[in-house]
Amino acid sequence: MNNIIVKELHFSYPIGGEIIKGMNLSFGNEPTAIVGQNGAGKTTFVKLLKGLLLPTDGEIIICGHNTKNITAAELAKYIGLVFQNPNDQIFKNKVLDEVMYGPRNIGQNEAEARQNSLEALEWVGLSSKIKDNPYDLSLSERKLVTIASIIAMNTKIVIFDEPTIAQDYASKQKIKSIIQRLQKKGTLVLTIIHDMDFVAEAFERVIVFTQGQVLLDGNKQTVYGETELLEKAYLEQPHVTQLCKKLGWSDIFLTVEEFLRYNK
């Protein structure tokens, strides 16, 4: 079953031209990265999925619910968003309270919300910090708090907005393992992101937006093989792929691990 169906989607803000110009997409459970240059419509698309904006034309079905017929608050039971900057998301003064806020808000009872939040904090490795003030944590840990608060809501869909910004190597590895664990649980993980190396490592399907339309949509090997179209969309290939291209190889590798496996 598709978790998200997007039909003939159009969107314009009250002032200015059309931002989304006729998109048709469907999403099952495959971890998917949406990439595209600044202004391609990625953030607007996420706001439409979350029901924070409504289509000017066409429709979006989230887990069987048309976003036009359900409030954004109701929709939050199905689709969670991890903000780009954790400071925009956090407002409670204890880690556990912060993580419990989302689950409570979508109707989980106290005991259920506590149980889910404790589990989510264990997932992200912050079990020892449940009583800390989020602002006493490092930026990476704060990012993990915001991820935990979405995991605890047990939504069928989780969206990450630029998950690797300001994150060091260890934090990126951690976020990658969380994404994989969510996938195993059957959650649809979506991201909007500029970090192509991270996409190559952690996602399967890649959708390229350009000027409010879908330019490419396919598995990452196919999409990242399209050198010219990617350039047209103001993007670049993962660094490993750039090296393969420069070497004139017909085989495309996306990650260091793949490259070394075939070349040792």
Binding site: E236, L247, K264
Partner: protein, 282 residues
């Protein structure tokens, strides 16, 4: 000529139990492009703040040692005087934007107005900064109607318009798409070649390797290394400091492919290409 001289700089945030910076000493020549790398909490952002004077003028805490930028001792100088010499581009452009200006043009003028620059000269400097960051077409927009990437370009333009002798940037391209980021790196490199000293914190190691003259590796408030990208990223113990080398270096380390000219691992695409071809993996 030395533009930055740091001697035994120690700093502890108020209420913190450990030092964020544990006695750093280094110097930077005029026109150098320095990349700072290190895991979270290694002291990168704190060092940036110490170079522009936010530490110790805004963030109090315990401060020791000396930071001299463009001949001025940071701790004992007025922020206004420092602002003419050294500029900081914030990590998050939303933190930097004044929120009190209605157009991008006025937002960029804000810093210049504050230091009382002649009107004609001000217009000239704003126009140049708008063109350099490729946002001239947005000059009449409200800053809050810009996308994240456009706002980040505006934040950089606002500092560059001040023509600081030293430009400090904390992850300046985090919001930008890959080609947009490349353009901004090229623009900053141009300024560096014209003599501006550049200090940049960045997690994109491929970019640091491509653009920096020297790389400072920080770990728990100490300088572990401060050398060419090739030397720093070739270190066998790099991962022990929470830093991964550029992708090109990782591949070449895996293949045992070193540069022909020196016994170091490649750090850029071109170097990696040459080394891989040489080892017969083509």
């Amino acid at each position: 000529m030395k533009k930055i001289i740091v001697n035994d700089l120690k700093y502890k945030y108020p209420l913190a139990q450990t030092l964020a910076l544990k006695g750093l000493s280094f110097s930077v020549e005029a026109g150098e492009f320095i990349g700072i790398v290190g895991e979270n909490l290694s002291g990168k952002s704190t060092l940036c703040q110490a170079l522009v004077g936010l530490v110790p003028h805004f963030f109090k805490g315990a401060y020791g040692g000396s930071v001299v930028v463009s001949g001025i001792e940071v701790a004992t100088s007025e922020i206004a005087e420092l602002a003419l010499k050294v500029g900081l581009v914030f990590q998050n452009p939303f933190t930097q934007v004044t929120g009190s200006k209605l157009t991008v043009y006025e937002e960029i003028a804000f810093g210049l107005e504050n230091v009382g620059i002649d009107r004609e000269e001000m217009k000239d400097q704003i126009d140049q900064a708008l063109h350099l960051l490729d946002i001239y077409k947005f000059k009449d927009r409200n800053p809050f109607d810009l996308s994240g990437g456009q706002m980040q370009r505006m934040a950089i333009a606002g500092i560059i318009a001040m023509r600081p002798e030293i430009l400090v940037l904390d992850e300046p391209t985090s919001q930008l798409d890959p080609q947009g980021a490349e353009e901004v790196f090229k623009a900053i490199q141009k300024l560096s070649k014209e003599g501006m000293t550049v200090i940049m914190v960045e997690h994109k190691m491929e970019k640091i390797a491509q653009y920096s003259d020297r790389v400072m590796l920080l770990h728990q408030g100490e300088i572990i290394d401060f050398d060419t990208p090739g030397k720093v990223f070739s270190r066998a113990d790099l991962m022990g400091y929470g830093v991964n080398a550029p992708i090109f270096t990782q591949i070449c380390k895996g293949l045992g492919a070193q540069n022909q000219t020196n016994a170091l691992y490649p750090v850029t695409l071109d170097e990696a290409y040459a080394a891989v071809v040489k080892t017969g993996h083509e």
